[in-house]
Symmetry: C2
Subunit: 279 residues, 2 copies
């Protein structure tokens, strides 16, 4: 693992790192905030998955999460949103498919399946890199959250791996990718036209079969221009109610899809995770 | 004035605006955060001046200031770092002169003097735009702060206009531009080779003649790679001591020049200004 840069922040350390990834067939970057408490021992790890067009840097510069993470003693980690170094033909043709749009799944279709395996990257490869390089990272106390496409990632991966990700939350998540344009485009490309393969990566389908023992926290702005067509919060809430999955949805009046919304409620999410991981 | 975008944030409103500027000979953008208290009446205004390469957006996305501004009931304003719309020949040749490097002065040399008048813009034109468009902005309770080149702007303009800017602070300011490479290059270009014209825009020279009635707060990271050659905090401190200007300098161990440093101490600066403006 290569250190790209490190910056003192809130008494801890904000770093950017690069490593060789087999899941993503090339080098991958991630960012990590170590709170001051990481100098004295293990701390819980909160992994954030970003949305379309973002990188490993976006959350760390825009969300304002380090302040409270420093107080609570939580490590923050953000990965990139797709492979970046695999040179897959056509990957830069769309803003919502390919580069910066990995959708946190393992692709089964050529040519994507050689590199677009962000699901394996998040569940296995990145945690192994953390274990090898950051002894303060307590991987037995990991939480998972994300925004938009990354909210989809957090919900699906959290539902599949409740033992690994003990707390889950999302900002403005895509909750039913099989039923919205972004998701249909991504799933068709990465997983193929046969929709039977899609359910494994669709939170609204998944929750019928696999629940998380903890309440899932969701914040959604009511002035989010993607809410009705792409995000469809209500479909997940209905599915949770049927399945008996505890979910807490806060509709935030007048807030949009961006990081001014996220930063306004980031403290609530950190406290949600801390309550479970440190409780 | 044109509204470019507005976003709900921390119960208030984060906006981006554009207006025609005579000082800068073309259109100029600025950003402004209105805390929730602005709906009920006038609130103090805290104007932030950014550093080299920044825009009116940088502080608002990276500093994490809105959270506490919302609590304290302070309006935040950031302007751009140079004219953007004047098409002055050669203005994009250097990263540290011309575009994004206006140095908060009024240029006297051709061709810069037609547009590079950020001093007048900050002192007169922008406050007039605020008065005309944001009735909640209490211009009798304005504070001024900034970073690096913008710290230079805050110190010089604050010393010259203590009646207008009742509180002053800076992050990693250029305190003696006449004695550092960035400043010498900028002042030679904008003000000419005759150094007698430079003192009016040099905080270390200015403070000998004009003091501010309030303590000036400065935070400076000790791992800031520009500290020794460009920033030279100690020259200003010495000059303040000679002149009887109260100054409070916090050297922050291990912090660098970037926004992870600023965000770590932004709350201290907001409280410094609130203590004076709301005291």
């Amino acid at each position: 693992m290569e250190v790209l840069s490190e910056h003192r922040a809130f008494g801890g350390k904000q770093g950017f790192y690069r490593h060789a990834s087999t899941s993503c067939n090339g080098s991958m970057k991630f960012s990590l905030y170590q709170p001051p408490q990481a100098e004295a021992g293990k701390v819980p790890v909160l992994l954030y998955l970003s949305g379309l067009t973002c990188t490993e840097e976006t959350f760390m510069i825009k969300a304002g999460a380090q302040r409270l993470a420093s107080e609570l003693g939580m490590m923050l980690v953000t990965c990139d949103t797709s492979p970046r170094d695999a040179a897959v033909a056509g990957e830069s043709d769309s803003w919502d498919f390919g580069l910066a749009a990995g959708f946190y799944l393992d692709a089964t279709q050529a040519p994507w399946s050689t590199a677009y395996n962000m699901y394996s990257y998040v569940v296995k490869e990145l945690p192994a890199v953390l274990a090898a390089n950051f002894p303060a990272a307590d991987l037995d106390r990991m939480g998972l959250f994300g925004h938009s496409m990354g909210g989809h990632g957090a919900l699906t991966i959290g539902l599949k791996h409740p033992e690994q990700f003990k707390s889950v939350s999302a900002f403005a998540p895509i909750v039913a990718p099989s039923q919205c344009p972004w998701g249909v485009k991504a799933f068709t490309g990465y997983l193929g036209a046969d929709q039977s393969a899609w359910a494994a990566y669709d939170a609204t389908s998944l929750v019928a079969k696999q629940q998380h023992p903890q309440t899932i926290l969701i914040d959604q702005g009511t002035s989010d221009k993607f809410w009705v067509e792409q995000l469809k919060t209500e479909l997940f809430v209905e599915a949770c109610q049927k399945a008996g999955q505890a979910v807490s949805v806060n509709l935030r009046d007048g807030y949009d899809h961006g990081y001014y919304f996220i930063s306004s409620y980031i403290d609530d999410h950190l406290r949600h995770h801390a309550g479970i991981l440190k409780g």
